[in-house]
Amino acid sequence: MSARTLTQPRPPEAPTARSPRAAGVYLHIPFCRTKCSYCDFNCYAGQGHLIPPYVDALARELEGYGGLGWRADTLYFGGGTPSLLSPEQVACLVRTACGALGLGDAEVTLEANPGTVDERYFAGLLEAGVNRLSIGVQSFYDSDLRPLARHHTAEDARDAYRDARRAGFGNISLDLIYGLPGQSLEAWRHNLEEAVALGPDHLSLYALIVEEGTPLARQVARGRVRPADDDLVADMYELAHDLLRRAGFRRYEISSWAKPGRESRHNLIYWRNTDYVGAGAGAHGYLAGVRYSNEWLPRRYIEGVGETGFSLVESEEIGAELERAETIILGLRLEEGVSPREFRDRFGLELGEVFGPQLARAEGWGLVEWRGGRIALTDRGRLLSNEVFESLLPG
């Protein structure tokens, strides 16, 4: 295996010839009012008192990346619940990113949870420099939201969307979850129609995954909740694509649909496997060939940044072989697929030399195809993408 995990923490990498200075910047806000039943993210309820020192630590960490020579292409506030930050706190972080990382007229996204926000708050965010919102609607049925322990209602979600528009947001994305226990194809259609009726610019659709260690996993293990049937989930995916296509959305990644020009620039950085800064507790970054993660616990993270300016706990050098595999695996998630020319430019090897047999086999099964000189997943391949990805891993 070409990945090497280092247990000794070390400072993040500086830009190199192969990794020029531009990077996406992810800020993790690990605070939530309550914890959702399916969530296995790094987030904590009841630690709101840590927010002010946490924001200070984040600002200091960003300055550190600036000092190493990195520049920000995009900024993304993810969580947790970033909308628990005040507009002033958000403004402070955006300012820091501009000053230290040269963030100019870039995409600045913030994830907002219905029930924590109103028009005034959104106006404050806009003022602070946020220009894109991602609203975690998940479902337009309250009966779906309660078992997920999402502490908002469908009406809260509609209100949040309208408030954001009224406040002046021109670029809004909605998150929906499908494959919920007991969810019918009809209920899913209704969800999609409601979402489309609101008129968002972008939609992210996630199939519910029962993650180990979550309350949902325990309910499933006890037989209280029955996970959705795989074939039904496949039908839901196909229905979504069909319905959104007719509503003028273009799928540009397995789980992401956008009106033309409204693709998430920040997320495209992940799928194109280029550099990004991960700042904040438990955030993951990928800089100059090293993937790393920060201290998970907010309090320890704050202490770490206080001492050294960073708080890395784990780094993994991604060797050339693994980088090639990750690049094609992530690239295949995109509708545009992977270009052999770009692959050659990046790695100095022919795509066919490295992945020829695997791609030929996948093509034989009808999982990938050549479209406009690029290799990409077929409709069938998107549903069975793990089969393709698995074969592309080294070893």
């Binding site: 996630y206 795989d230 695996i329 099964w365 549903l383 993408s385 990805f389 698995e390």
Partner: protein, 614 residues
Amino acid sequence: MTLSTVSKNLRQDHIRNFSIIAHIDHGKSTLADRLLQLTGTISERQMVEQVLDTMDLEREKGITIKARAVRMSYTARDGQTYEMNLIDTPGHVDFSYEVSRSLAACEGAILVVDATQGIQAQTLANVYLALEGDLEIIPVVNKIDLPSADVEGVATEIENVVGIPRDEILPVSAKLGTGTEAVLEAIVSRVPPPGGHPERPLRALIFDSHYDPYKGVIAYVRVVDGEVRVGDRLRMMSTGRTTEANELGFFAPGLRSSEALRAGEVGYVATGFKVVSDCRVGDTITLERHGASEPLPGYMPAKPMVFAGIFPVNGEEYPLLRDALDKLKLNDAALTYEPETSAALGFGFRAGFLGLLHMEIVQERLEREYDLDLLITAPSVEFRVELTDGRTVPVHNPTEMPEPQRVSRILEPWMQITIISPSTYIGTIMDLVTKRRGEFSRMEYLEESRVMLTYEVPLSEIVSDFYDQLKSRTQGYASLDYSFAEYRAADLVKLDVLVNGQPVDALSMIVHRDEAYTRGRMLVERLRELIPRQLFDIPVQAAIGNKIISRETIRALRKNVLAKCYGGDVTRKRKLLERQKAGKARMKTVGNVQIPQDAFMAVLRLEGEEVGQS
């Protein structure tokens, strides 16, 4: 009579050789531990719980696989000091020959019966072995401290079944130490001293052996006649192999060397042999020159009854598997194996075992001690096939079954089985035995509510999951013992399985013609559940010859995971894919279908559903 003879006879009078007969968990090891403590053989400090079972596997399963022995010194109430040799016996039906040899080394046996459970079938079988060998039986009712103990009922049962008067039965709590001294006194007073003649040529019975990397094979012996001294040239009477007694001594409980072992004594002899099969359980050791003319009676070479294919999951591990089997064989004379090639599973071995437990033990030791990833096919028995040309050939593997036109008839081994159970379960036991083609022989009441049922059943019906079924139907109360009865002709056919049109040789089995259809249907249904959906439709068929008798289809997989994947997910997602890939690598690919290991054992568990439905 010379002075030395008198002293030897005096010594012999003060020896007591005994073993303990008990069912699993009835307290044999705990009682043995108490006796060791009472006689000061080991101090409290040295006391590891259950000293005698030294293999990890033995501790875990709570059973003794290899026999052990220990010498104790006990000063009895009569003021005299006795040398007491406890020979521990294996506690499972697969090892009944080993039990019989251990018993042959003794003059007495303590029968331990759990006061809450009563006598079990295997225990009874061993008691009969002991009675045949003229051993003095000292019955002990153990666990009298438990609230559910039925000391009277169990004593009645012992009286009825074994015919020992109630006043000779000792109530004991080995756990608390109650009544354990009385056991030692009973051994002194009731068990006769060993017979045998110190003046005759050496005859020593091998009741077990183990391989020691430094000393070679160590034989565990009971000297019957004569004596053996360090440096004596020795001859194994059945194999004819000769060697020198490099070292000998007794068990204290570790090996303690001495100069000589004399008639009546129990001890060990380091033979320098490299494999235990040179020094077989039941064989007689004598001197190379001026040796005995007749061996001790009762020797039988180990005979495997159950056969299965053992294949490495990863074909590259084949040489490692071969080395591991070679090493196990050093210590296990009953294990046999020869190379086998399967179209589905590649290179492996066809191994023969004494029974299912023996098979399970070998498998676990290979996996644990040698870190091998194995695939074991469903066990089969030795069929004898009479060919039209008059020859008879043994068949250990369904794939070796000759073409039907060359076969005049097929014989299969039948066993006599004994089941002891509460009488409420007679109906369900009868039903089970009938379903397995068994024939009723007789029924005896041991006491009011417990019966002993005797049947004859084909071994092939027992090696699937007969024992599990019996336990589940009787809430665990029934116990089972079996021994070989005879070969009988049967109307048998070979049932083949085709996955995606390809025959999977490792799934073939030989079944009774009347059951072929039902078995085929159940097998195909089970395989449909066990083989994961893949990228294409997979037909699964059962066939007899060219005739398909059952078919199911595993529908093509439509979707695996549709996960999101952002920056923080990349590593995690990759690890998940790596795990999935490793999981698939552990499956065997037949044609282009990946078949998980479970599927190859599916043939074993065909009856599981039947009970689930009833």
